[in-house]
Amino acid sequence: MRRKRNKKRKVQGFAYAGPTVGLVILVLVALAYVWLGGRCKMIGKDITDLEMKKEELSKRYAYELYHWTQLQSPRNMEKALAKWKLNLVWPSSSQIQQINDISAKDVEKIVSGEYYPAIAKR
């Protein structure tokens, strides 16, 4: 004879499935919120650090600009020329050949070699 099934027997299992899942979701959301908050703060910190770095670089740039300007000042150029014994002189009028009555277009053609190909090859 088959044993009677106890239909009234309650199955002992996980009875609070719904609220637990809800709690877990809540916890996950809270963790996500905290994580996002932390990320935002990190990004904010990065932004302020980069802003400070930008300022430092601007100052550095200004300083290098000042240095470069000083280096190429007329006084320093003169000193450099004197140091390397580069004596630059203007040519005297006897060293200058003036070609009168010539248009600018003709000069261009001469220089480009249209008239004298030998010049272009140099």
Partner: protein, 573 residues
């Protein structure tokens, strides 16, 4: 364990946890709401900070743009020390020795500053460059520290000092372009209101307000630093050679009125303005009135030619060098008999000029003086310009008609004189002189650009042409300005040797030597004026100022690559 017991324990634990949370919550409520208002606002205040973000000042560059910076802001350091730490340190002597040698501060001065154990702060040296501070980096932590400071700096020291002006320690603009263009250069300050943490470091997510500072505009000058250097060097040599009190010079483009160089001696170092005096800071090219002497003759001569009351070939009797008018003697430097107007200009005869002015008449002469801008400011974009001095017609003496045309009894500035000559060179059109070419915002937008402006037309083109030829003869052989001639170019010019006014008359030893000219004749590009104050022992414009003009003109005309005979000429070197 029965079910009832489990339930009780769970409830107990839950109750304890709930109690703890309620306690925390109550404490939070207490902290936020139950504090006195003053205490709460104090706490809020400490968590926030507000700051004005100073806008970087704009840069000043020469006509070649950002490659030639004349003024900019750089970050420097103040080297400071804590005397209470340094003086009590075992290595005090070594530290002081290091500071003294590396920063070039005298040991006595250092000892004075450091030997104050009660003091917590002392400046060792101010305004030190960053690379210099690297030499003392090993001393940080030994009571020596650095403070950042942003300073207006002039890389070329004294070059263009009077044109640029400077910013003093109170951040105020003093003189020159710094003052004139201050509203463009200063930029707009920014603002930051934000929250900070316990270390006073900004918490970006608590930033409430942020307006970034806007950098000042870039001011581009018409001056060229290389031309300026040429002029300043020539002036320095002349002042030294002739033991002069000072000297000043201007180079101007005649067609546009742009100033290429403006120099005044004595000068000063813009980075050390605090050790300069008023005499050094004065821009004599626009701020010093002087009697021009013979250079002023061009006004009366050109006026008479324009009115056609004389012609270049008209002959006048120069009375052998001494002539009486209204019982007062007028002398020539050399005695001449009869001279044409052309020769009178070449040899700079006072008597001829006076007679030409008499033929012109007082009223007409006065009209031309006003037309040339004598007694009025030119309106240059620099502060401190003087107007010169010209008495009103009704206040003229009976001999004024013979004195004013030769540059006595009238005062002008060097800028006014060069404007007169530039007008003659520019076919009779007087251009407004200016030193600022363009102002550009940080974003690249041009907010101001100077255009050439005609301010007067005192003489006709035909008259200007005649004057060109008359003045060109001055620099030829036999002319007073032959030392101002430039090889390969025709130069038009006029010398001037004016006695300086003293109480009761004129000095016999103190003179102002000057030369004004332009080149090349025919198609003038630049005009130059050179003035030397009290040269000794040689005092004449022809011997002192004309050679300086030549030195400047020779270099500048080639630097600008101006061909000698006009534009359609190719030159092969």
């Amino acid at each position: 364990m029965n079910e009832y017991g489990v339930k009780i324990r769970s409830l107990l634990i839950f109750g304890i946890l709930l109690l703890m949370c309620c306690g925390l919550g109550a404490r939070l409520v207490c902290l936020h709401l139950c504090r006195p208002e003053e205490e709460r606002s104090n706490m809020m205040r400490l968590r926030k900070t507000k700051a004005v973000l100073t806008a970087p000042r704009g840069v000043i560059v020469d006509r070649n743009g950002e490659s030639n910076i004349m003024a900019l802001n750089v970050n420097m350091k103040h080297v400071c020390a804590d005397p209470s730490v340094v003086s009590t340190s075992a290595l005090c002597a070594t530290i002081l020795e290091d500071l003294s040698s590396k920063l070039e501060v005298s040991r006595t001065e250092l000892d004075e500053k450091i030997n104050k154990p009660g003091s917590r702060f002392a400046f060792i040296r101010k305004y030190v460059y960053e690379d210099e501070t690297e030499k003392i980096s090993h001393l940080k932590g030994a009571g020596v520290f650095l403070r950042d400071v942003n300073v207006r700096h002039y890389p070329h020291s004294s070059l263009m000092c009077h044109v640029l002006g400077y910013i003093d320690r109170r951040e105020e603009a003093c003189g020159g372009v710094e003052q004139q263009m201050n509203r463009y250069l200063m930029g707009s300050d920014g603002y930051l209101a934000t929250g900070v943490d316990a270390r006073r470091k900004e918490m970006y997510w608590r930033r409430e307000q942020y307006t970034p500072p806007v950098q000042g505009a870039t001011v581009e000058l018409t001056l060229d630093q290389n031309v300026q250097y040429i002029v300043e060097k020539a002036l320095d040599d002349a002042v030294a050679e002739h033991n002069a009190k000072g000297g000043w010079a201007i180079v101007q483009k005649v067609r546009t009125g742009e100033i290429l160089a403006m120099a005044s001696r004595p000068g000063f170092d813009l980075n050390r303005f605090n050790v300069s005096d008023e005499s050094q800071r004065m821009n004599r090219t626009i701020g010093y009135n002087y009697e021009p002497g013979s250079t002023f003759k061009v006004v009366a001569i050109s006026a008479a030619l324009n009115e056609k009351v004389v012609a270049p070939s008209d002959v006048f009797d120069c009375e052998n060098g001494r002539w009486f008018y209204a019982k007062r003697a007028l002398n020539d430097y050399h005695p001449y008999g009869k001279l044409t107007v052309a020769d009178g200009v070449k040899k700079s005869s006072n008597i001829l000029t006076a007679k030409v002015a008499l033929r012109l008449g007082e009223k007409k002469l006065y009209q031309y003086l006003k037309a040339y801008g004598v007694g009025s400011r030119t309106g240059i974009d620099l502060p401190g310009e003087e107007a010169g001095s010209l008495a009103q017609l009704k206040d003229w003496y009976n001999i004024s008609i013979t004195r004013i045309p030769i540059g006595q009894g009238v005062a002008v500035t060097a800028l006014q004189m060069i404007s007169i000559f530039s007008a003659i060179a520019n076919d009779g059109f007087m251009m407004k002189p200016h030193v600022v070419k363009r102002v550009t915002r940080a974003d690249g937008k041009v907010i101001f650009a100077a255009d050439p402006e005609v301010v007067a037309h005192p003489i006709r083109q035909e008259t200007a042409g005649i004057m060109n030829e008359l003045l060109a003869r001055v620099t030829e052989e036999g002319g007073t300005g032959r030392r101002g001639a430039v090889q390969g170019y025709r130069v038009a010019g006029k010398t001037g040797t004016a006695q300086k006014a003293v109480a009761g008359g004129y000095s016999s030893t103190a003179h102002i030597a000057s030369f004004v000219g332009y080149l090349p004749v025919g198609d003038p590009e630049i005009a130059i004026i050179v003035v030397v104050d009290e040269p000794q022992p040689i005092r004449t414009g022809g011997m002192v100022a004309a050679p300086v003009f030549r030195v400047i003109a020779e270099q500048v005309i080639r630097y600008l690559d101006v061909p000698p005979l006009g534009r359609n000429v190719a030159t092969v070197r």
